[in-house]
């Protein structure tokens, strides 16, 4: 599973990355986190409002700092 965090490095993007790391650790799945910081690349992926969370190529959330529990819920679906 590949989780992508899209965002230029604002505090919220970093916080989202932390939450995602915690979520993976908690349910113990094999997943890697990638950060996408280039704004053009973010746009090409179809996102304008950061931070965004992309799981296996699908945009799951845009412009929100999700909590660990919410990310876990998203990972399980």
């Amino acid at each position: 599973m590949i989780i992508k965090i899209l965002g230029k490095g604002c505090p919220k993007c970093k916080a989202l990355e932390e939450q995602a790391t915690l979520a993976i650790a908690e349910i113990g799945i094999d997943a890697s986190i990638e950060k996408v910081t280039d704004i053009d690349q973010i746009m090409d992926m179809g996102v304008m409002i950061t931070p965004a969370l992309v799981i296996d190529g699908e945009i799951k959330s845009v412009g929100k700092l999700l909590s660990k529990d919410r990310i876990i819920a998203l990972l399980k679906t």
């Binding site: 230029k8 604002c10 505090p11 919220k12 916080a15 704004i39 973010i42 746009m43 179809g46 996102v47 304008m48 409002i49 950061t50 699908e58 945009i59 799951k60 959330s61 845009v62 412009g63 929100k64 700092l65 999700l66 909590s67 529990d69 919410r70 998203l74 679906t77």
Partner: protein, 395 residues
């Protein structure tokens, strides 16, 4: 923040420079002592008058917007196939929800321009976003009174609409070849809806109610109703607070409340230091209304006093180039007003200031090219001047 990247030599230079500045400032000169005192008086003023009752509730509202409103839902009105009139209107007002953080303005602008509704709506959004973000509007009402507050909000939206339309007309041909990309404007699948619209509206209304009635000002006998409300303001805000508590217990889960508190905290961390230093600087240079600080009031009166066309133009053009960090335009304009700036020019400065600065011009220039940027800047200066001038004439 950036300190870590500096080489030791550069750090030394900064320290020496600071030392030289401190060495040569005549601290015992009455103007300097007065200015330093004014800076702290003004900060105390903000702490007493504005922070607890106004800025703090406003931060909670801004936090709620980010966490609970689906910002992406607005985007579908700005997509490549959106109705043009709707796109302009939405672009002009959506700043109030989309631009709660200034860092989101440019990416959204770029997205609308390159892959969505095109140049016109993108420019409308770019202009109005920073001017009508919720914190700026609330603090404007509180500090400048409702007349300038309403003017700032309404005229910003109007100007945004006009500038967008004009830009689109002028650069019609060049706008054809852009890549429409619907995906950017769709709502992502996993974004959930837990609460109904009426529930969300009640939630927002209860928070706004607390804010509005806490800050209710007496009319001093002009309107009985107004003063009556003032006498009961704590009771009215209290009832809204009870409503809010009920809503929170009833319709919100613990983890959602946690997210909300976190978002609010992040806002506070981001904005309060800027606001405080803005107030200190404004106090140091300009002083509270009625008091003089470092810059003699006479200078300001000659440049932007009264409501002449020149004063408005000068205010608009300096606002265009000056950089205001989020919300700092408010104490600075307040200081200027106190030092003799006319209300018209103050409006002109508020309209031109937050939307444009030299750094943002460079970034926009990269995106749009020099010609379009120049036209945009000229339009902003033109409309701000006119609006300030009209305000001086009419009100």
């Amino acid at each position: 923040m950036t300190n870590k990247d500096l080489s030791p030599n550069k750090k030394l230079c900064i320290i020496i420079a600071t030392f030289l500045v401190v060495y040569f400032i005549p601290f015992d000169h009455p103007r300097i002592t007065g200015a330093i005192q004014e800076a702290f008086f003004m900060l105390a003023d903000y702490a007493h008058e504005h922070v607890l009752l106004c800025v703090v509730p406003a931060m909670f509202i801004a936090g709620a917007i980010v966490v609970f409103l689906n910002q992406q839902a607005v985007m579908k009105y700005l997509g490549p196939k959106a109705n043009k009139v709707v796109a302009y209107s939405v672009a002009s007002v959506s700043g109030s929800i989309l631009a709660v953080c200034s860092c989101t303005v440019l990416p959204i602008f770029k997205g609308i321009y390159k892959k969505g509704a095109g140049l016109g709506p993108a420019v409308s959004f770019l202009y109005s976003g920073p001017a009508i973000n919720i914190l700026a509007i609330i603090l404007s009402y509180k500090v400048f009174g409702w007349r300038m507050g309403v003017t700032r909000m309404v005229v910003s939206i109007l100007i945004a609409f006009l500038i967008g339309l004009i830009m689109q007309k002028i650069f019609k041909k060049e706008d054809e070849k852009r890549l429409a990309d619907e995906r950017l404007f769709k709502t992502p699948s996993a974004d959930y809806v837990v609460r109904s619209l009426p529930q969300m509206i009640m939630f927002m209304v209860s928070m706004i109610g607390i804010l509005v009635f806490l800050n209710w000002a007496p009319s001093d006998g002009v309107s009985l109703l107004w003063d009556g409300i003032f006498n009961f303001k704590y009771w009215i805000s209290g009832s809204f607070a009870l409503l809010l508590i009920y809503i929170l217990i009833r319709w919100f889960s613990r983890s959602e409340l946690g997210e909300w508190i976190l978002a609010t905290r992040d806002f506070a961390l981001q904005i309060l230091p800027l606001l405080f230093s803005g107030v200190l600087i404004a106090g140091f240079l300009l002083g509270r209304p009625g008091f003089e600080a470092l810059i003699p009031s006479g200078w300001i009166e000659t440049l932007v006093g009264g409501d002449s066309l020149f004063a408005n133009f000068f205010a608009a053009i300096s606002g265009t180039f000056m950089y205001f960090a989020t919300l700092t335009e408010i104490p600075i304009v307040q200081g200027l007003l106190g030092a003799g700036m006319g209300e018209g020019p103050a409006v002109a400065l508020l309209l031109a200031g937050p939307s444009l600065s030299l750094p943002s011009m460079l970034v926009i220039g990269n995106e749009l090219g020099m010609k379009k940027t120049l036209v945009y800047v000229l339009l902003v200066v033109f409309f701000s001047t006119i609006a300030g001038f009209m305000y001086g004439l009419i009100l």
